[in-house]
């Protein structure tokens, strides 16, 4: 059974791109969210195996969403999607419980490696 993924990013472009990379590799994208609040709600509802999380999103940011999701499920596997220069934020996300991160612009191979590490 393929792993079920929830994609959280406020940009449709990024969501589509991540979805394409993951779908082509055989993962099942079960949902998308465009804000932190939505991400938490969809996580509760879908209980995915993996969440990809943008850091900067309207309404509730990615780091707070990581905290909220980990409060729902301490074993949640969350992969941060960051831009260059966001090192401090990524470190904070890791302290909040994110399992790994990838840096935009995405290289499909790096994204898949990170996904495999998080799901390992």
């Amino acid at each position: 059974m393929s792993h079920r993924v929830l994609i959280c990013d406020d940009a449709i472009f990024m969501r589509t791109m991540i979805a394409d990379i993951l779908t082509q590799a055989g993962y099942e994208v079960v949902g998308e969210a465009e804000s932190g609040t939505q991400a938490v709600a969809r996580f509760r509802e879908l209980r995915p195996d993996l969440v990809t999380m943008d850091i900067v999103m309207p309404d509730m940011g990615g780091i707070d969403a990581v905290r909220a999701i980990r409060a729902v499920d301490a074993n949640a596997r969350i992969l941060m999607c960051s831009a260059m220069g966001q090192q401090a934020l990524v470190v904070e996300a890791i302290q909040a419980g994110a399992k790994d991160f990838v840096v935009k612009p995405f290289q499909p191979s790096r994204v898949l490696e990170a996904v495999q590490r998080v799901l390992a």
Partner: protein
Amino acid sequence: MDATRYAALFLAEGREQLAECERLLLALEGAGDRAEALAGLFRAMHTLKGMAATLGHGVIAETAHRTEDLLDGLRAGRLAWTPALPELLLRATDALRAGVEAVAEGGEPPLDEALCRALAAVAAAPEPTGTFAVPVLPGAEPVPLHTTFELRAVGARRVEVTVAPEAPLPGARAMLALARLEALGQVLDLAPPAAAFPRDDFGGTFRCRLVSPAGDDEVAEAVRGVGEIARVAVRVAEAEPAAAPERTARVTLRRLDRLMHASGELVVARNRLLAQVAAAPRDPALAAAADRLAALVGAVQDEVLAMRLVPVAEAFAPFPRVVRELGRTLGRPVRLETDDGGIELDRALLDELADPLLHLVRNAVDHGLEAPAERVAAGKPATGTVTLAARRERDTVSLLVRDDGRGIDRDRVRARAVADGLVDAHAPLDDDALLRVLARPGFSTASRVSGVSGRGVGVDVVFTRLRRLGGSVAVASVPGEGTTFTLRVPRTLALVRALLVDVGAERYAVPLAFVEGVARLRDAGARPVLALGALLGTPEAAAPSGAGPAVLLHVGQRRVALAVDRLVGQQEVMLEAFDPPAALPPWFGGVTILAEGAPALVLDAAALAAEVPAWTA
């Protein structure tokens, strides 16, 4: 097993854990992150209990257990937080420290049953039964009972991790590796500290000790599992040298104060004796005995002062949290850099400096730093930097609070100050003048109300406190580059080295902390000249002449030549606080009894700088 070795480890780690508890409790009373502090306290109590139980220190284990129960309830949200809790938890920490210190002396105090009952009452746990059983822990905790302690005793591993050079965000990658290590056991002696990881200049390599039941290969495998790791080295740490346990005695601070005072008087008496012996050199044996006595008094003095010295790092310790919380509250990313320079300072002084430092750091984050967007627009990194540093100069220690913000807006400060009649509209507002304006009590209140985008808030408080300590404040502010406040204090309280000068028939003491040197007045360079006699209105004082002596003072950025009638020499003087008569100028900091038995007023050079208008010329 080597019992002595375990005991030494217990003491060292027990003290460490209790110091951490205290730090966290103080953070709890402040604006700290409560959940994080509670989790830290819980871990510390847990470790302490495990160690104490292993070594059979039942009272400590029981007390730690009760405290841990309470903390667990708070941490898990079963118990509600109340403002009275820090007090109770501090009491528990004190009791535990007393227990640990008693173990250091080979005993153990009786169980503080009142404390245990109070803890149990809050935790709603059953009354203590009086016997200690190793408890079953509620909830899973990453550090299994005793493990830390035992493995540390048999030697932990040293781990060195290097992130692949091409990896993006190497600090974040390193953080992932660190998280893996923390999942395996206890990480100690992390270098660089975790605060360095988020920085852009993080090099990608970190080292630590790891206490974990996992095998070497397992550790290396776990780290490699985070990906983009160039190198992992895991080796057994060399056993720590079995340091002979340093025996300690508990002495109240009050006793220490009295001892310091007495030893200060002793120094003054020694100086008086030496002066007498030098004045009448008749008896070589007496002179030799006096010399010997003088050396011994000096040694006593050094020891007493050393006892009171604590690392400045202790005063800096709460600030990473303070700054982090402030940054979070204000919604601006801030980084704190500290550089304590390994400097030590009298504990009493350091305690007094805690509030001024807090004031200045708050001001730096709140008013000094710009909003991230404004910083980026000005070509600066979005994250502001606040620096806390300590420096030693002559007999003084300077504590610096620096921000890389917008700098103080002099035009606005000047407008306010001119409106309040504090400065002349055309006078240049240099750093010293700026400080004098900011330090006016009325000014700070007014500036806060009117929202002047500079400082002002609390600077008067800082200024007053420093003057009371015989220190000084300086400010340096560059538009667009930031502001530095420098708090300068004598290294030790009470006993100061001073230059004695005569004006008319009176003798005065000038603390050497502010003295750059002495010279003939005509050789004093471009400094403004102040005649002490004229300032004091001493009729018989000599008129300053080029050939007359001058004391070269240096306060803040201001240098001045203080003309006096005669230079007498240096002496250590015991500074006594006094109620100054109303007629006395406000720039005397105290009074002292000189070696020859006569009293002398001690000049407060910093106050002189603040009060005497001639200095602004």
